[in-house]
Symmetry: C2
Subunit: 230 residues, 2 copies
Amino acid sequence: MKYSASKENYLKAIFHLQQEQASVSTNALAQALQTKAASVTDMLKKLKAQKLLHYERYKGVKLTVEGRKVAILIIRKHRLWEYFLVHKLSFGWEEVHEIAEELEHVSSKKLTDRLEEFLGFPQTDPHGDPIPDLQGRMPVSKQVILADLPVNAICTVSNIGDQTAEIMELLNHKNIRIGTKLEVKKKFSFDNSLEVKLRNQSAFTISEHLAKNLFVKFEEPVVEKSKPVH
Amino acid sequence: MKYSASKENYLKAIFHLQQEQASVSTNALAQALQTKAASVTDMLKKLKAQKLLHYERYKGVKLTVEGRKVAILIIRKHRLWEYFLVHKLSFGWEEVHEIAEELEHVSSKKLTDRLEEFLGFPQTDPHGDPIPDLQGRMPVSKQVILADLPVNAICTVSNIGDQTAEIMELLNHKNIRIGTKLEVKKKFSFDNSLEVKLRNQSAFTISEHLAKNLFVKFEEPVVEKSKPVH
DNA sequence: TATATTATTTAGATTTGTCTAAAATTTATT
DNA sequence: AATAAATTTTAGACAAATCTAAATAATATA
């Protein structure tokens, strides 16, 4: 079955919002899709008629199994194209989202699968988000928020929360990207800012806001084992 | 300026039809776009209002300079994507047209230009059609129809006329593609069929219909120079 | 040239996705 | 619990792109 770009965007938005809350409200969708609540209601009725979601008026929506499948395949396309744009066409990671929003609606399944092969079956997109496989299985990455790490923790940035142009600008400036290794040097309880250090660089401070938007893979701090004396 | 996929398709179709006739009729467009004449009339009015074409009722249409520019940029995108699909994703040349019809409407100019660079600035698409450059200049290839060649002529296939799945199927079967060298062995006036020969292959017959759909670059037949006796 | 045929346009509908404004429902607050 | 506030839905409208059927214009034919 083929759905309009607009419908695909609704399904995708619902999928993402469902990560936070099991049931998604009309208003939340309207905000996510930059449209009006009335338009959302209209569309939900159509998507319900197509059995892509469970919806009862005033109750919010959930995707059906089918709706979820469609959403994941869009996300798969989006992330594969992002990977292509960054690693083959040398785009900056902060500029690819918008273009991928268009490319993800190109329908050919064969194209998606060939693209994946051409890219060497990447596991995550340039923002660190996992790429669902062609059966629509998406690895769940168990990552942790940078803000939650203890002092002296060493970690690798694996994902960016709010992928806005603003955060990307800041991260570029601070030279932080997916895969960057960080060490937490100090935490200030006054404003919850923390001081971090990159390899071969002096430490600098990042705000609580930023630290809550950086997902990392946490590696246990290496304990300086004192050499046995003999 | 950004135009809808539908409008872009109209401009593209008019451009192609203008290669044949200076002025394009409503019916010709309806047929090319697989739609009804009434729908064409409606759209022509809108495109005229946007100054993309010259149109007076009952008189047919021509693209304006602006309309032509838009059309060529779509064609540029179409052909670059076709090249990508064949040379990077290993698609067969007969299956890429449909996918490129979708990809050509992705708007980012930067994407198109980066793609062109990534592909190494190809001059023609997999069907042999020239790829316009980023200023919208398109090389005019002076090719000739295979049917018009004299006996003994040697030529290289440079373009396919009607790029339908049907002709592609036939050409694949006969092992003819862009770049294939052919020698015209015989011409039969009875049905205008002709016998051709590929390198290292025995001669076979092709129909007039096919011969009129194969564009070739003609090389003067090599005259067997008798070796000087001494 | 008058008439038949074909091509094109107009008029009026339809579908998709959106909107505003008003009404209905749910949730929060006194 | 009654009322206020917020959320959600309905009703009615609109723009884009399409359609059918009828009307009009251009072209071909007798």
